[in-house]
């Protein structure tokens, strides 16, 4: 399989995983940068992630315009993806979704969303909250153009995740597998933190040193531990037969 085909195949799996793990529902989307052209990316046409097949993948440029003649309806918020790829050359994959248990941390300010469990470390030591109202006033809360998307990317800065007030989150990573993993563990970390609030007393967050240590070791996209999760989630969402490991990566 050619690399670009493998990437599209993995994007289908990623869509299905995010649906099955309840990160996305009718809404939410995941994209991957074109390995042959860093100025474009692949994403589904406007379709619920659970229903995405290879034929639904479209190629968009960083301003959100289709590359070629595809005229099918697109995600309204596709600008989020382009603007993050533009601002972050290190990023290869982006998720925007509304996973339910993440939402409270974009609404109330009593407890910051920070890593409390080891699998939540990937969100990084600081998760900024972007409020579209700060620069754009009363909107329908959707990131509907490049200007808004660039503002979000500016808040994301060099972090891995930004919460979007009253809306959801945007997550960025160096690989598709990693952005999926982060998107699955982000709500789990949120639930653990909500539970800790109920337990009461002092909350012990991961230290900055621990967060760094986790990024350094053992968790690349093709490591034994990461691959185990990808394979598991793909099977769980009915895509087990589609899983294939890139030939040139270990």
């Amino acid at each position: 399989m050619k690399e670009v085909e493998r990437v599209k195949n993995d994007l289908v799996i990623a869509n299905r995983i995010l649906a099955r793990e309840e990160v996305a529902d009718a809404y939410g989307h995941v994209s991957v940068r074109n390995p042959d052209n860093p100025r474009s990316f692949f994403i589904s046409r406007s379709l619920a992630p659970e229903l995405v097949t290879p034929d639904d993948i479209v190629e968009l440029d960083l301003e959100g315009n289709p590359v070629g003649s595809d005229e099918r309806p697109l995600y309204l918020e596709r600008f989020i993806h382009g603007s993050i790829y533009e601002a972050r050359p290190d990023v290869t994959a982006v998720v925007h979704a509304h996973a339910e248990d993440v939402l409270p941390f974009g609404i109330a300010n009593g407890t910051p969303l920070r890593p409390v469990i080891h699998s939540g470390s990937f969100i990084g030591a600081h998760v900024p909250v972007w409020d579209i109202a700060d620069h754009f006033g009363d909107t329908n809360l959707l990131v509907s153009n490049v200007e808004q998307a660039r503002d979000l990317a500016k808040t994301l800065a060099d972090h891995n995740v930004a919460l979007m007030r009253g809306h959801g989150f945007a997550a960025a990573s160096r690989s598709l597998i990693e952005v999926v993993r982060m998107s699955v563990y982000l709500p789990r970390n949120a639930r653990a933190l909500l539970g800790a609030r109920l337990v009461g007393g002092d909350i012990k967050f991961l230290s900055e040193g621990e967060i760094e240590a986790r990024n350094e070791k053992a968790y690349g996209p093709y490591s034994t531990a990461t691959w185990r999760a990808w394979e598991y989630w793909a099977n769980k969402c009915g895509c087990g037969r589609l899983v294939s490991r890139s030939q040139d990566k270990k």
Copy 2:
């Protein structure tokens, strides 16, 4: 397909979606106004929404009496639907249900149920709470006659949703697809708000301007974004093959 047939077909899908999304269980019902006669509406006979098929749809007048000779048992609370259609010419579809996570806001008064997430905007800036005990004293809490239903419709007034104390909610919308979407996101908005209470600190609700902006744009029943959800939910509840788009609507 004739419009009236399409409407009944969509009503079956709506029943199944509400069951699958856990808005309804054995109880709860959804109706749609007859497109050929604004003084009657379609609703299932007394049956759990998950089990509704086209043959179960009956036509009732606004006082809750069957149009024609159907003698099958009816929902006891069918009066809710008729009285809302009577009071609200702008309304085409009504849901009454007991979605679990909405219930606390009809029981305790510490936090009003207002939109905190963008998909919750459709419930509107204010969600009144109707307490049947206020005008009818000790009842079995069910809306069992036209008088009670009209009282509920009066509390609903020109809002989109009314909570019913210790019981559930009534939701009204200009289309079937929209009332289903609102009924699915109402409990999600409630959960996000409960989570925000646990996060602690100040809660940022959607502003009135944001709520208005969302109603103005992009979210009609046949818009790309809304249709995506309808198609997704229909597939999820096993009704994918029944989905058809009205010919005369975009």
Copy 3:
């Protein structure tokens, strides 16, 4: 079908419903009084409710001994059932289970478990909490003999449900369908009350008059509304084909 056969058939359905609705897991049991002999009752042999078939039903006397020569292992806590039938001639069916969301109210004393939603009315205005330690000291918490079971029945008195501290609940009703319905809505009422705690402020419980009004009307085991739930739950747990309505009851 003879009445005794119909009762056993319904008992199988009841077992499956309680499993599917997560009232019971590996543990928990439901019984029904023998319609031909008020001094005995039917219950499954020791088996998880989800797996119960007609062949697993045994007949026990009110002291928990098998009627006839059945030697299969029995539920250790079968005494609960016999002692409630003994103390309460009005009772035809009993459930003992550990539905998870009911447990907190038997552990902490900050909020009494009382009806807050209309479908929770059946638990009655007062739900006593029985603590086995009060009269029996340090035990394994299981109701292992007639003496303990009679003590529980004494606390239950003429109520519909008793919580068992650190353990679960016992529910008693005049029909199998009703005890199943109550057991399904008991945890739902508990969840609504926990949610109301999180909403904060004052909690409005159902009034005594409302609880009475609900018992008087519309909710007998073969009423339209109750039958709708039984039919729905039976279908949901895969027992739709087993549902049959008693010929002599409406």
Copy 4:
């Protein structure tokens, strides 16, 4: 079936149960001591528990090295198992997992995780919390070598469960069936305790006498009550046909 084959067969079932009951996801593992050699144990190769089959079982020595020539990737944290078997001759089976509802108690210190429900008694009167940072500073939180694993085993001491701060738990028991049961009821006990926090007021934990009484009676791995759960969980996760009872144990 030879005892060693039966043990491996049960280990496959145990993996599947832990996955189905959401104790494990892509991560988490269960092992059993080799009945023919107390210095080695069986565990899956690096694979999500839901996917484990008999061919995936490997044999490791107490330092985590494969016995024989197996070269397939192994669980990084396999050292946890070996070190517990080394320190605790009474232990036959070990689980390490990250069941979500247990996590809060390893993060916040406001409420100790102690038994509040009878099925939670098996975790014992005291559940120590091990923080890898105490002796090893900033790590990736994984137990990656024998030294760390022995430190964890030292904190576990003669208890049944140790929480691991920001990570999960390790559970040890005298049989595979018992360690699975404990791992399933550990999160349930945690949820009941979180619920009790929400109920408010005083929380009644199981007394030490009650915990002891439960260990003494009726709950060996082949007792009627325990076997009922094993059989139920095995059926639920699709392994009903694999269940077989050891010939020489009752």
